[in-house]
Structures are given as structure tokens and as C-alpha cells.
């Protein structure tokens, strides 16, 4: 499969979850695990143009797919995307554990809907739990990127 523009070929056990493949086999540890029921979204990555929960998918199911993880957002030189920058400005993260998943869900949203309303952002983030921020700063950070038109 192709991850953040790099092709990987690995033999993996059939029972290996995509999230553990990313984290343990490829050392892409930006994608997190927060639950065991597919409820929290900490593991969200982009598969094609959809945000998906990588704990709800086996690694073998992603065979041949093109995946973007949080590590694939900023440029190689470390230049942040406007969304990452906006999270920083709006204090949309505290511990940062949910942040990769939030960023991936919001990135997928902004690609489809560059100027989402507050409600549309809430709906898009409904599968992502944050236990630190109370969400409002996250919602504002995403809306602001849309308003600035600088996704």
C-alpha cells in the first residue's frame, strides 16, 4: 500500500489491525488508539479521500490502498498546513492525543466542503472524542480555516 506517498510491501498476519500495522510495523506513531469499540476516532487516517478509523480495518483489507496519516500533512520541510496552524492558534489541543484523528477527519471534510458551517464541522467530528478541550476550540479552528479559504 502507499502511505504518505511512500510504497510499502509487507507480509502481515491476517488478524493485524491497520492501526497496529501503522504504529508497530511502520513506526508511524502519530496515529493513536483510544478505545476498543471504534468509538473515539483517535486512529483516524485518510484512505483515498475518506476519513476512516484504522482500528476498524485489518491491515490486509487496506492492501493496495493509498493512505494519508497525520505525518503526511505538513510538508517535508515542516511547514504546517493551514489547518494545523489553525489548531495551534485556536488552542484546539491540550494533550494532543486526539489531535491527529481530529486533523484527519477535518482535512477530509475540508477537501469535500472547503467552507463548512459550524454545524457541518460538528457532524464531521462526531466520531472523534476529545477529553481535554470541550471541542469548541477545535470547531472554531476548523471553521476559521474554511472562512479564510486557506485550507
Amino acid at each position: 500500500m502507499e502511505i504518505n506517498g511512500t510504497s510499502y510491501e509487507r507480509d502481515v498476519p491476517a488478524s493485524l489491525l491497520l492501526v497496529h500495522f501503522l504504529r508497530d510495523d511502520l513506526d508511524l506513531t502519530g496515529t493513536h488508539v483510544g478505545c476498543d469499540t471504534g468509538s473515539c476516532g483517535a486512529c483516524t487516517v485518510q484512505l483515498g479521500d475518506e476519513a476512516i478509523k484504522s482500528c476498524c480495518m485489518l491491515a490486509v483489507q487496506a492492501d493496495g490502498a493509498s493512505i494519508t496519516t497525520v505525518e503526511g500533512l505538513a510538508s517535508d520541510e515542516g511547514e504546517l498546513t493551514p489547518l494545523q496552524q489553525s489548531f495551534h492558534e485556536y488552542h484546539a489541543l491540550q494533550c494532543g492525543y486526539c489531535t491527529p484523528g481530529m486533523l484527519m477527519s477535518a482535512t477530509a471534510l475540508l477537501e469535500k466542503n472547503p467552507r463548512p458551517s459550524e454545524h457541518e464541522v460538528k457532524v464531521a467530528l462526531q466520531g472523534n472524542i476529545c477529553r481535554c478541550t470541550g471541542y469548541w476550540n477545535i470547531i472554531e479552528a476548523v471553521v476559521a480555516v474554511g472562512e479564510k479559504g486557506t485550507r
Binding site: 498476519p13 488508539v33 478505545c35 471541542y135
Partner: protein
């Protein structure tokens, strides 16, 4: 969109302190470059999985690990019998009877709650460890189960810990003022049958875990983990493992939320340590969400029985009596400290001078409790607020006015409470007025009528938090006079390195509170340099020399203990920089100033030494100095001014600062379903001087979300067999983005007169929010039978029950008037 209304700071500040400096932490975290414990890997490490008890109470008849051990790729196991040989039981904070509890890292002979770790299995992969755990055969003999603290104290109840001779962990009577005289003076006595504060916790998104290595040559363990109070963990682990504390190195970098729930992971860390030594390989343990819910740090559930409140005709509150029964769960991992911590806020924000409270704590077949954001104080604050609303409704006082009348007033500050605690500063009436204004309380009757026209019940709620911060650990002696803990401390080092880098280390374990940023702000102002120049080392390492017995991040204290230590060390370094410059320029120290990243002569700015020169001299260019140049490496231990409290009278100052929050809300209830919707919400915060207002506001918003969750959705529900019915985020509903009401925040600053920076610890404001919702619900229900809210947790079915049978709760309230 949330309307954020924040008042500008009231103090003269330096250029960095008081600004919402964007956080230093964010760069790595938004790029997935944080290092959480589960990101740390070692070659050939073994993955650990716990075999957990499927019973809430049972004896262990036999354990057979042979089938698991035979599986290829399984590295080994550890059982309770081995633990009982290799370790001693953990030190108990409690005096007898609770002090007799024998608590080991794995169950020995008996299990006492569902999910208790019984065996640990280590294997080549996560998946294999989990599978192999299923091949461990454990035979149990089930015992009668206790899930109710009240029943646990009854004669003939099944006993969890035989050594204790019953289920009581601690009991004590706390009495201050002249309670009998207060009741004699009262015009009304309001009796409240029973109030209940529910069991939940803040469920950080990252579960517990560690990567543990053992160095056979030196006998030292290194734990990369997310424990948030390493000082406490080490004190618990060292004696149990029969090793000195220097053998236990605890390292954290990024931690995915803590909220107190990550304080008591020492049993699991001991298991990892024993297995790292036994199996000669690094051990990786990552808890699964279900395991966290079943076994990690529930918040204290508490009952308040037979409360009586003495009230004057004008609404003045004279005093109360109540019997608190606290549920500690199956083991005393931090308890019974909850049995004293509540008394930091015994009277809440109010001028009650006469208090009688019997505190009794019982052990039950549920997960052990330990600190949870607002630990043990939020139960008491909720109680004081609940009492006021019940008194107001029963005696027909206005809920706002009775608060205003009984608040400790700003002119009373600093205010000594009946039990000797000192409220340092604050303006509670102002905070309440701001909160009420933010939610538009002046129009409430119009809105109530408008809602009624839509068939909805609308109510206004108020809650308060006194966020007592910087503990005096001497209070532990009030529940166990034998303990040798008192005061508090935190350590920081600030040094100037060879190339002039400013490097700060701390003993704290941040979990999202932005310590790197706020510490850098304080240092930058003292050294007169840019925030960017200040490097704050990330996380915690008990091998740094910035560690003391109380190091950690808990109990609302960083802005006082952590930043005061940083200030102390930075002041020392500033003094040394001036001294060194005076040695170089051969002028008096008074002639030198620090400015713009230089040490220079005040009236000759050309004569300036950059930080680089100052760092290089003592480190690498020291020949020719007549005297030793200062070291440029400063360590400061901040010690708050405390005395040991009076054990006889249970009297003394238990915390240094009291940050305050008032929450206010408007709720709408659908009488058809009992569903409560929060339609307006405001939280007003006063935590003294704010180093970084944006970070403070973030804490307020996060705590508010926890409160709303706990008030409406989050609960650890057990059935009568001790099965946890909410063991994951599917059944345990935490707020999601769509659940959050519009949120307004307000702030002002009443600087603490007792702290070096005028700051107060903050962050645990959630308790006010829980009550706020309860209060709103009770107000809304006035128009539909006038039920009394007696529980902290009010999901739709409980509200629906109150709507259907308002008399049930009303009958638990009695008024005697003269």
C-alpha cells in the same frame, strides 16, 4: 459559535506573562511527533496482557498457565503467588482498620472486583499475548458481592478483606463551631433524607501503560510511562519491591490526558518491572479501553445521609450536620485521603460556621477509586450547592439571592473557614453576576414562558467550584496520625549552557496543561529574553535533578508549585548572570542589568555580554578568574508556607490557594422524554494572575465538558453481581462535538497574596458544572411537580422518573420551623 468574553488582566505584567503565547508543545503534537509511552519501542520487547477476573468477588482456587506457556511466541507469565513472594504488600495510607488491607500488584488468593488483574502473560506480539491470556486456566469460587457502600457497612455483610474485620476503611467525626447552638438559634431546620454523588471518571483518551526495561548490571528499572505522580508511584513501589527509589527511573514525555486517573498505576508498573527482570527483556504494556474502564481509578461515589440544615428567617445559613458514606471500591490505592481532602472546602463558598460531618468510607466489589479531576472536593461542593437549592426551594428563597447573602464576601478575604483553611482572595458575588449576565438571566421568566409555549420546561442553574490548590500533605495526618508527610514542594532547575541556551527542567508531568509554554513565559520575563530562547525540557525524568517527593502534576498546583520553583531558579540564574558580568566588567553588580538577551552595563549599553558568553565562561572558558565564576546552573525547591494541622481539632490550613469558578446554565427539559438539553452555558473563572489566559480558558472549557458529561451521560453502572455495564465508550457516553452547548467564558483576576507570582492552581472546575446542571433541572421541574434533585447524575430516565413521581423526592425533605 461560542462567544468568548474575557476581561483584560488587572495586573502590571512583564512582556510574556499574561499573554496568550501560543504553545510550544503544539508543533510536535499537530504533526504526530509527540512521544507517548506506547510510541516507545525496544528490540525484542514482549507485549504484556493481563488475565482479569470475570467475577466481582471470588476466591482463586487454582491457576494453570501451562497451556499458555506452551504456545510458540509466548515468553512467560507472572501470577499472584509469585508476586506475593517477590514483593511486600503496598504501603497503606490508612490507619487500621483500612491499614490492614494487603494489596499486591496481582490478586493473591482472592479477587475483589471485576477486571482485577490475576495473571500477566507476555508474548511476541500484542495479538498473541491477548490470545495466550485466554489459555490461562483460573478456577474461581464465587462469593457474595457488595456493590453498595451503605450495605457494605451493615452487620453480616460479606467481607472483602478479612484482615480488616469488615469493610470499613476509615471513619471520623469532623466538627467545628458550635453546631448545637446553631440549631438552637435556627428559625427553620431543613432535613434532607439522602443525596448521592455518582461514580464516573474523566476517562483520558489515552489509556494506561508503560515500556519497562531492566538493567541487570545496575539493578535499575526505567519506566517510560504515563503515570502522572511519579513521586507517589516511587514511594509505593520501592518498599514493595524492596529496592531504593534510585533504582526506579520514571520517564514521561507526552501524556494523553490524566485528570488524576493516572496517579495510581503503581501495581501495573510493578508487574512490568518484575517481568522485565524475570524474562530478561523489555516489557510493553498498553491497557485496552475496556480494561481502563473496569479497573483504573474511578471517581469517589458518595452518599450524604440525614442532612440537617440550620437556617435563619432571613435565609442566613448557620450550619449543617450530615453523614457522608464514601465508596472506595475494592482497594485503597490513594484512599482514604478522600476522607480529608473534602474538608479543604467543607463549607464551600459560603459562611457556614458550624459544621458536623461524620465521614465513613467503605470498601466494595467495584474498581478502586483514586483522584479524579476535582477529587473529593467536588462531592463536597456539590453537596453544599445542592443543600442551598433545596433550602431555597423548600423555604421559598430566591436561589440567587440566598447565595449572595451567604457567600464569603470579597471584603472578608483572606477568610479563615471554621476548620482553619484560608481562602486567599476572590469575589464570588462578582463571578456569579458575570455568569448570570452571560447566560442572559435577567430575561429568564420571558424565556421560561416562551419555552412553555413550545411544551418545554426551562430552568436556570448555578454551580460553584472552589478549586483548592497546592495541598498541605500534613492533612494526611488528620486521618492517620502516624503518617510522616507534610507540606508540599516542587523543583525546577534553570541553567545557561555553553552556547547560551537557557534550559529548564521540572519535576512535573504535564498532560496537556502547557507547562513548557508557561514555564518559558516566566523565565523569559526574569532573564529579559525571548520566550523562544527558553528551552523547557519535555516531560519528566526522575533522573533529572528536578525531582522531589511531591513532584507530579495533580491537584491544581502547577501555577503555584511548578512556576514558583521555576521563578526561584530563574531568579537565582539572573543573579548569577549579573554577578558574572560584574566580574568580567569589574564593576559593582548594581551597575549591571539584563536586557534584550544581554547582560550589560546600565549606562553603557555597548558593554554587553550575550548569553553565549555568560554560558561559555563557567562551562568552558574559566581560566584567569580570581574567584570561581558562578555555575550558571541553578536549582530551586519551592516550599509553600504550611504548618502541620492540629490533629485533635482537625484544624489548619490545608491548601494554599482557592481559585474560583461560577457556572450558570439554562436547560430545557422535554417532559415527554425527560431529555435535558443545555441551551446556554457560562463559566466564569478567577484563578488569580493568569500566566497564559488562553491556556486557562482551555482548562475551563475542558472541565465544563467533563461536568456536563458527568451530569447527564457518564456513569460507571454496576449490576448487582458486580458487572460493569459501561465498560467502553460505546456504553459510557462522553460528550461529542454535537453534544456541546454554546459556551461562554468570563474571567477576572484576584491575585493570591500568598504565592510568588500571584497565581493560583486551577483546572479542576468540573464540579461546579455538575451542580449547575442539577440546579437547572430542579428549577425546570418546579413547573411540573417540583421534584427535588437528589443525585449528581441525571440521565433522561431519572428526569422522567422525577417528572412522573415528583412526590418521591419531595417526601425525603422535611422542614421544622419555629
Amino acid at each position: 459559535m461560542t462567544a468568548i468574553e474575557t476581561e483584560a488582566g488587572t495586573l502590571q505584567k512583564g512582556s510574556a506573562v499574561g499573554q496568550s503565547v501560543p504553545r510550544k508543545e503544539d508543533g510536535r503534537l499537530v504533526q504526530g511527533q509527540g512521544v507517548f509511552f506506547d510510541d516507545v519501542k525496544r528490540k525484542d520487547m514482549g507485549y504484556l496482557h493481563f488475565v482479569r477476573s470475570p467475577y466481582a468477588h471470588a476466591t482463586i482456587e487454582s491457576i494453570d498457565v501451562s497451556a499458555a506457556l506452551e504456545m510458540p511466541g509466548v515468553y512467560g507469565t507472572l501470577t499472584g503467588d509469585e508476586v506475593a513472594i517477590l514483593t511486600d504488600p503496598f504501603f497503606q495510607i490508612a490507619a487500621p482498620p483500612g491499614g490492614h488491607v494487603k494489596d499486591y500488584a496481582l490478586a493473591v488468593g482472592k479477587v475483589r472486583y471485576l477486571g482485577e488483574p490475576v495473571v500477566a502473560v507476555v508474548a511476541e506480539t500484542r495479538e498473541l499475548a491477548r490470545t495466550a491470556a485466554e489459555y490461562v486456566m483460573v478456577e474461581y469460587e464465587p462469593l457474595d458481592v457488595l456493590v453498595d457502600a451503605r450495605a457494605a457497612l451493615a452487620d453480616g455483610a460479606p467481607v472483602l478483606h478479612e484482615e480488616c474485620g469488615g469493610n470499613l476503611s476509615y471513619s471520623g467525626v469532623w466538627e467545628w463551631g458550635d453546631v448545637d447552638a446553631a440549631f438552637a438559634e435556627a428559625d427553620h431546620v431543613v432535613s434532607i433524607g439522602e443525596l448521592h454523588f455518582d461514580r464516573f471518571n474523566s476517562t483520558p483518551l489515552e489509556c494506561g501503560g508503560a515500556l519497562v526495561e531492566y538493567n541487570r548490571g545496575t539493578g535499575q528499572w526505567t519506566m517510560y510511562t504515563n503515570n502522572q505522580f511519579p513521586g507517589f508511584a516511587a514511594i509505593m513501589m520501592g518498599p514493595a519491591m524492596r529496592v531504593g527509589l534510585d533504582k526506579l527511573r520514571i520517564v514521561t514525555q507526552d501524556i494523553g490526558g490524566g485528570f488524576g486517573n493516572k496517579i495510581t498505576s503503581h501495581p501495573q508498573l510493578v508487574v512490568c518491572c518484575l517481568l522485565a527482570r524475570k524474562l530478561k527483556r523489555a516489557i510493553q504494556w498498553t491497557e485496552w479501553r475496556t480494561e481502563f474502564h473496569q479497573s483504573m481509578s474511578h471517581g469517589n461515589e458518595r452518599w450524604f445521609e440525614n442532612t440537617e440544615v440550620a437556617v435563619k428567617a432571613d435565609g442566613t445559613l448557620l450550619g449543617f450536620r450530615t453523614k457522608a458514606i464514601d465508596d472506595a471500591g475494592a482497594y485503597l490505592r490513594y484512599e482514604p485521603l478522600g476522607g480529608v481532602i473534602w474538608s479543604q472546602v467543607a463549607a464551600g463558598m459560603y459562611k457556614w460556621r458550624n459544621i458536623w460531618l461524620e465521614f465513613t468510607q467503605a470498601m466494595t466489589n467495584k474498581a478502586p477509586v483514586s483522584p479524579n479531576r476535582g477529587y473529593s472536593r467536588m462531592q463536597q461542593l456539590w453537596f453544599t450547592e445542592r443543600v442551598i437549592d433545596i433550602v431555597a426551594q423548600t423555604l421559598d428563597f430566591d436561589a440567587v439571592e440566598i447565595r449572595r447573602l451567604n457567600f464569603v464576601q470579597p471584603e472578608d478575604m483572606a477568610y479563615e473557614t471554621p476548620n482553619g483553611c484560608v481562602y486567599d482572595s476572590g469575589d464570588y458575588p462578582r463571578a456569579m453576576d458575570m455568569a448570570l449576565e452571560l447566560i442572559g438571566a435577567s430575561d429568564i421568566e420571558t424565556r421560561r414562558a416562551e419555552a412553555a409555549s413550545r411544551g418545554k420546561l426551562l430552568g436556570l442553574g448555578i454551580g460553584s467550584t472552589l478549586d483548592s490548590g497546592t495541598n498541605n500533605f500534613g492533612q494526611s495526618q488528620l486521618i492517620n496520625p502516624e503518617l510522616q508527610f507534610s507540606g508540599n514542594n516542587e523543583v525546577a532547575t534553570v541553567k545557561l549552557d555553553i552556547f547560551g541556551e537557557v534550559v529548564v527542567t521540572l519535576g512535573t508531568t504535564p498532560q496537556g496543561q502547557g507547562h513548557e509554554t508557561t514555564a518559558a513565559q516566566v523565565v523569559a520575563d526574569i532573564l529579559h529574553c525571548d520566550v523562544d530562547v527558553v528551552n523547557v525540557r519535555v516531560g519528566h525524568d526522575s533522573y533529572w535533578n528536578s525531582h522531589a517527593g511531591f513532584s507530579g502534576t495533580y491537584a491544581s498546583q502547577f501555577a503555584v508549585t511548578g512556576l514558583s520553583a521555576v521563578k526561584g531558579a530563574a531568579d537565582m540564574l539572573a543573579g548569577q548572570m549579573v554577578k558574572l558580568a560584574s566580574m568580567v566588567f569589574q564593576c559593582p553588580e548594581e551597575a549591571i542589568e539584563l536586557a534584550d538577551g544581554f547582560a550589560r552595563i546600565k549606562d553603557n549599553h555597548e558593554a554587553a555580554l550575550p548569553f553565549m558568553a555568560l554560558g561559555a565562561i563557567p562551562n568552558a572558558n574559566n581560566a584567569g578568574f580570581p574567584d570561581d565564576p558562578p555555575t550558571m546552573n541553578c536549582r530551586y525547591v519551592y516550599r509553600p508556607p504550611f504548618d502541620v494541622p492540629d490533629k485533635e481539632r482537625k484544624f489548619g490550613n490545608l491548601t494554599l490557594t482557592y481559585a474560583t469558578q461560577i457556572h450558570a446554565c439554562v436547560v430545557e427539559i422535554d417532559p415527554e422524554t425527560g431529555v435535558t438539553e443545555v441551551v446556554d452555558y457560562a463559566a466564569v473563572d478567577d484563578c488569580g494572575v493568569r500566566i497564559n489566559p488562553q491556556i486557562v480558558e482551555g482548562q475551563v472549557m475542558g472541565a465544563t465538558a467533563h461536568a456536563i458529561g458527568a451530569a447527564l451521560w457518564e456513569s460507571f453502572v454496576y449490576d448487582e453481581d458486580g458487572n460493569l455495564l459501561t465498560p467502553n465508550f460505546y456504553d459510557y457516553h462522553v460528550p461529542h462535538a454535537l453534544d456541546m452547548p454554546p459556551l461562554k467564558t468570563g474571567a477576572f483576576e484576584s491575585p493570591s497574596p500568598f504565592t510568588p507570582l500571584g497565581t493560583k492552581g486551577m483546572g479542576e472546575g468540573g464540579g461546579g458544572g455538575i451542580h449547575c446542571i442539577c440546579s437547572g433541572i430542579q428549577d425546570a421541574l418546579r413547573a411540573a411537580g417540583g421534584a427535588i434533585v437528589t443525585d449528581s447524575h441525571n440521565p433522561y430516565h431519572r428526569v422522567w422518573e422525577m417528572l412522573s413521581h415528583p412526590e418521591r423526592s419531595r417526601e425525603t425533605i422535611e422542614v421544622t420551623s419555629r
